[in-house]
Symmetry: C2
Subunit: 209 residues, 2 copies
Amino acid sequence: MSETANVETANAGAANATRPHTGRRRNEAAHRAILDAALRLLAESDGTPVTVDAIARAAGVGKQTVYRWWPSKGAVLLDALTDRADRDVQGPDTGDLRTDLHAFITTTFDAAQRDTTASALRTVVREAARDPHLADLMRDFTATRRAALRDLLTKGRERGELAGDADLDLIADQVYGVFWYRFLLGHGALDTDTAERLADSLTRGNAAR
Amino acid sequence: MSETANVETANAGAANATRPHTGRRRNEAAHRAILDAALRLLAESDGTPVTVDAIARAAGVGKQTVYRWWPSKGAVLLDALTDRADRDVQGPDTGDLRTDLHAFITTTFDAAQRDTTASALRTVVREAARDPHLADLMRDFTATRRAALRDLLTKGRERGELAGDADLDLIADQVYGVFWYRFLLGHGALDTDTAERLADSLTRGNAAR
DNA sequence: TGGTTGTCGAGACTGCTAGTCTTGTCAAGG
DNA sequence: CCTTGACAAGACTAGCAGTCTCGACAACCA
């Protein structure tokens, strides 16, 4: 039963044209209520794991309805999170790598620290540590953003702002490594200042000689 | 009942001198058997969480005995791990920052990837994501190694190999950020080559101008 | 020697959660 | 009106952390 994967087909009868649909239609309102409730609980979570029962109750919905739309708790949580996250991960492109990098890093830092997002993101990561399926979804999610950063770096290298043999993957990993490390441990700031120093250090450290 | 915290006092009667000891003594063999069993299960774990029941059974020990020595499952796992980990985290000191940094990073990478350690470490991190107490223990554990790295950087800065206003914490976070990021996601290598590039990039990126 | 104390292995038990199954209801069609 | 399938509610299963109980036994003391 993988019909839960493409939620979009449920909004209209379009995809059902092949077979004369029978039975009651899925309730889109329930779908939204679950997503909203999940996001709210994620945001309010004080570290306590968010339970499916709690989500269903908060959404005024039966637990089975949750599992009718998503295959696992993790899928619900990630969907709730990405539902709100802007999909536009277009990196800036001013023609100056240091500037673009600074802008990109700042955007990343800020996005993760928006009030509701931060707690939710932490909770999802915690869940992903136990749920391989959710971990996969997380990897997909982050890969998109990672690709945008790679683009930025590639363009910079083509302009000669980075050494021809610069290890772009390692640079990207330093950015995301610092981000996740500080985000999860919370021992260091993720502010514009840090972003600037990081962009500066990476640009200078990998410049053409 | 926090007597389980200082396990060391149980190895001899020394600490018991203050009070005329009564009752049967704790069995050090059981202690070791638990640690060994935990480490074995951690190493063999294919991602499945290691249960206390399994540890106790593998050690031929009652579950209560486990909880007599350690306050939580996480504590057992971390103890099993650090028991084997070398405590000597003395950074090298050749007088050249780039060289020292490379050596330090390589050592870190290698230590984490020793056969039994890698799987065990990953499992402990997974558990730490849910268990705040274990997360604390992990922080303590990593702080020691982090301090050694800070030392290295401070010495380098004093020698003028880094800019006076270089952000040493950020540099340390770049090292450990990349390490954990790649270690946990497994998408990139943690080899000597990477260590060299990283050391080089960090040294050049934060050199005095 | 016999009493006291505290550990031992074994395993029952509680409490919590993910995920499934059941039941009775209701809406959308044929 | 009858079939189909979503719906809310909630019982149920299975797995695990951590606690509690039990009878056995070891170390020490009087």
